[in-house]
Symmetry: C2
Subunit: 236 residues, 2 copies
């Protein structure tokens, strides 16, 4: 009985996979707002109402795509980090930055779904916060590793973070154990700066202004690396 039930379940799982695949294709071409259950159903040779057997609502389909997206960019970041020498902290940071940017440029609509404005009327459920952390976990490990190796020497040029931020810093420190509140704050600057750059490039703020985007991006990521206190050059 277990086998037979699994047979059904397997068909179901396969259909769910096919639906999300087609939906992702639609997402890539038309964006989140253009994602239509009926169109997906048409592509599958199904009638629209049948889709609702698998996804109770359009938002549930979106949620599935969002989780997949977080996992995809997270995996991409993990692979990029894994391809670097463990003690090349700046290189690992740069690799992570380029992985984020490249993935974003390759999947603009999916990226917009993850890091752009929330889809109107859609509220991200709790299921998304786990996979959402995959990329930042990698980032935290880089900082933490550099700190442990004694290679983190942030330039002192601005006041330490105010006392009131210590509880927040403590929360973030779970991702990057062993670093000071100051480094936590700098880490947030760099991380948000990374996504700020990607957002500007992807959402059109650089149009008609910046042409050598990859070079500017890399240079700016190096600036942020030095703000964190990472060694000035990769492989140094």
């Amino acid at each position: 009985m277990n086998a037979s039930r699994t047979a059904r379940e397997r068909v179901r799982a396969e259909l769910i996979r096919e639906i999300t695949d087609i939906a992702r294709r639609h997402l890539a071409t038309d964006g989140a707002g253009g994602l239509s259950l009926r169109a997906v159903a048409r592509d599958m040779g199904m009638v629209s109402s049948a889709i609702y057997r698998y996804f109770p609502s359009r938002d549930d389909l979106l949620t599935a795509l969002i989780i997949d997206g977080y996992n995809a960019i997270g995996e991409s970041v993990e692979i990029a980090d894994a391809g670097c020498a463990r003690d090349d902290f700046t290189g690992r940071w740069l690799a992570v930055c380029h992985a984020v940017r490249t993935w974003a440029l390759d999947h603009p609509h999916e990226y917009a779904l993850l890091y752009g404005s929330p889809v109107p009327g859609y509220q991200a459920p709790e299921d998304t916060i786990g996979p959402a952390a995959r990329d930042v976990v990698v980032y935290g490990r880089i900082i933490s590793d550099a700190q442990a190796a004694g290679r983190l020497t942030p330039p002192d040029m601005c006041p330490a973070p105010p006392e009131v931020l210590s509880s927040d810093a403590e929360a973030v420190r779970q991702l990057m154990p062993g670093v000071s509140d100051d480094v936590v704050a700098r880490g947030i600057v760099a991380w948000t700066g990374l996504f700020g750059m990607v957002n500007f490039e992807l959402f059109g703020q650089f149009n008609n202004v910046i042409t050598h985007r990859r070079e500017l991006f890399e240079h700016n990521m190096l600036s942020l690396a030095s703000l964190i206190g990472l060694p000035p050059t990769p492989r140094a």
Copy 2:
């Protein structure tokens, strides 16, 4: 004839204003995707097709809202900057940062329209690039003023920007005359970092993680200020 013609035109202008006002209210509550011409028409006691006399398409209405939004945030930034002592460069930078953040928090959906993911199927026309620059013009003037006053001393901690970026730097330098390529690049880091922070806060990336958001924001903006080379403390 001029007066009579103006009479009609005045009614027309008034109606356009009323449409955009109602549309903005809908935008504030339902977001860009929930903006419905029919709903706006209903609120005005009009029939839906009549709206098309004033805005040929939903996208044109969106464009009007976007231009208004850029002007609103730009004006907000201008006022914030104008409220500071001219030689308090770090204070002016901080004021601009807070103006952007406050406006974003007060008008989240409008902000998302400007700096979030592009609305699906909507392509921003050229009309939007003028007003879009209002805030960054203020920013550029702060940097430029600080440079002219000899108060811009960027810490040297990372390599200068590569040669290939000089043409892009030249374009950006129109906003901040008199500064080096290095400062231009740092300026872009800070500017994108500002919006990166606001995006993270507004789009939910800080949920369940950061609680003292204003304090963290201000501290991080000070970090970025020191990266640019602005004096470490306001009013110094």
